[in-house]
């Protein structure tokens, strides 16, 4: 569903993504793990068109979207839940969702408000008045309203209480079961382990490991020590 091939991204003189390859099968949850600063967020931003790659290719469902501006990537069916949620602070909950609304979406607003009861109660509140957990749910609802084929989630568990992370895991699996292909980028292993069908590990701008959830569990101790521990 989402294919990345030989992706290179530079910020000025620093070479952030150094030939990233990633293949995400449709309807699965692919998690990308890695330490802080290895380029996970840059990869997500490059897919979204917020950062221009210097070379390589990004394709969604066979359509080459490399170098497209973000709004076209979005309309091609890629939704973005950014690190730090980036809720519009002065818009209400309902307005935040409406920004991304499209006609004929499979996720109309009333369906989203049923899926996220806490947002339903706080429809008229401003984004800045929500708790971290509520903001995360809003960021997902706002992405979902565009009826995406692929959803990119960047560090969604950051700063959330364990109970909220569990709810987040439930929602992410539910979206997969509804047919949304999910890319989950995480520094924190817990959420990734709980939901991922496939795990990838990124080190210094490259993918160094790929395995199914079962294989990963068997090798976890070694992999963790080699790539993820400080």
């Amino acid at each position: 569903m989402l294919t990345i091939a030989g992706l290179n991204t530079h910020y000025g003189a620093s070479h952030i993504l150094q030939g990233v390859d990633l293949e995400m099968p449709q309807g699965r949850i692919s998690a990308v793990l890695g330490r802080n600063g290895v380029g996970k967020t840059t990869m997500v931003k490059t897919i979204m068109g917020l950062v221009a790659p210097s070379s390589g290719r990004v394709a969604v469902g066979g359509t080459d979207i490399t170098g497209w501006p973000p709004h076209r990537v979005s309309r091609q069916g890629v939704a973005y839940v950014p690190e730090g949620r980036l809720i519009f602070p002065d818009l209400t909950v309902l307005e935040n969702i409406k920004v991304g609304e499209r006609p004929d979406t499979a996720w109309p607003i009333d369906r989203l408000l049923k899926l996220f009861p806490s947002l339903n109660e706080r429809q008229a509140n401003r984004g800045s008045q929500l708790s971290g957990g509520e903001q995360q749910m809003l960021a997902i609802a706002r992405a979902l309203v565009s009826d995406p084929k692929v959803m990119l989630l960047d560090e969604p568990s950051q700063g959330l209480a364990p109970l909220v992370v569990r709810e987040l895991a439930r929602i992410i699996k539910l979206l997969r079961d509804e047919g949304v292909t999910i890319l989950l980028v995480e520094q924190n292993m817990k959420l990734a382990e709980a939901v991922a069908d496939e795990l990838h590990i990124m080190v210094k701008g490259r993918m160094v490991y790929r395995a199914s959830a079962e294989v990963f569990r068997a090798e976890e101790a070694t992999i963790r020590a080699r790539y993820l521990t400080m």
Binding site: L50, H71, S74, R75, Y80, F88, D90, E95, V99, G100
Partner: protein, 289 residues
């Protein structure tokens, strides 16, 4: 003249002055909020509105046609300018904008001089508004009352547009975080063109409305641009409500200052601005401190 009637006259004068200033300030602040650029050409577009209004009135013999059409013409010109030139500069630093919009102000100024000549041109108020109305036995020029009413209508219309219209929502979202808005499918470039056009159209509306009061003249750009900046700075750059409050403050300070302390009226406006900035460095409703 009794005190109450005098006060009432001055208040209507101040409100009508505020209305004119508001048309300028609100466009300037919307443009700043969205693009983080100061449009130096705003005063020139206000003047262009007055001259286009003059020609339209002459050609059609009807002020109302000018009032309806001139803002649209200037607004489209503004949107086209954004599309053709400003759009290429967003990734550069703010100096490029200052230079380019300042350049536009000069070009528009010269173009107006070449097209309409150096003399101030009379734009007669429509017959309907040429007379006076008596309140407490005092005569009020109908045109000033009309300006106040127009100011209220336009302010409410912009407010409702920003709150309820789809484009209004996208403008607010883009002002708060343009990258996030575009990642949600909003074509930010089109929003910017639209806002620049709307802002220029509002400045022109101010120009057409001011013309019967002050004539259309080459000097009118320079006088109002400073007032417009003061309004935006007082209200807080990017704030719609701030531009409304700023326009009212400046309008009242100018009219009452001119009456009581004519020598210090101009200084008084800056003193008010200074006092506000000392207490709230970002302006009354501004975000940045």
């Amino acid at each position: 003249m009794n005190t109450l009637a005098f006060l009432l006259t001055q208040i209507v004068n101040a409100l009508s002055q505020s209305a004119l200033l508001f048309f300028l300030g609100v466009g300037l602040t919307l443009i700043f909020g969205l693009m983080r650029i100061v449009n130096f050409a705003h005063g020139a577009l206000y003047m262009l509105g007055a001259f286009v209004g003059y020609s339209l009135t002459k050609w059609s013999g009807n002020y109302w046609v000018a009032l309806a059409v001139a803002p649209v013409v200037v607004g489209l010109f503004g949107a086209a300018f954004e599309f053709a030139i400003l759009r290429r500069l967003y990734r550069r630093d703010a100096h490029a904008f200052l230079m380019v919009t300042f350049g536009l102000a000069l070009v528009v100024g010269e173009a107006v001089r070449l097209t309409w000549g150096p003399d101030a041109l009379q734009v007669p108020a429509p017959d309907l508004l040429a007379g006076v109305m008596f309140i407490l036995d005092e005569p009020f020029p109908l045109y000033r009352l009309f300006l106040v009413a127009t100011g209220v209508i336009v302010a409410v219309a912009i407010w409702q547009f920003l709150e309820r219209a789809r484009l209004g929502l996208l403008i607010r979202a883009t002002s708060q975080n343009a990258d996030m808005a575009s990642a949600l499918g909003v074509d930010v470039k089109r929003v910017r063109s639209a806002v620049f056009g709307i802002g220029c159209g509002l400045a022109a509306l101010g120009g057409v409305l001011a013309a019967p009061l002050v004539t259309a003249s080459n000097g009118m750009a320079a006088t109002v641009i400073i007032d417009a900046f003061v309004i935006v700075i007082i209200g807080g750059m990017g704030s719609f409500l701030g531009s409304l409050i700023g326009a009212l403050l400046v309008g009242f300070v100018q009219v009452f200052g001119n009456y009581y302390l004519p020598d210090l009226a101009l200084a008084f406006m800056y003193l008010v601005m200074l006092a506000i900035l000392m207490v709230r460095p970002g302006g009354l409703l501004g975000k940045e401190a």
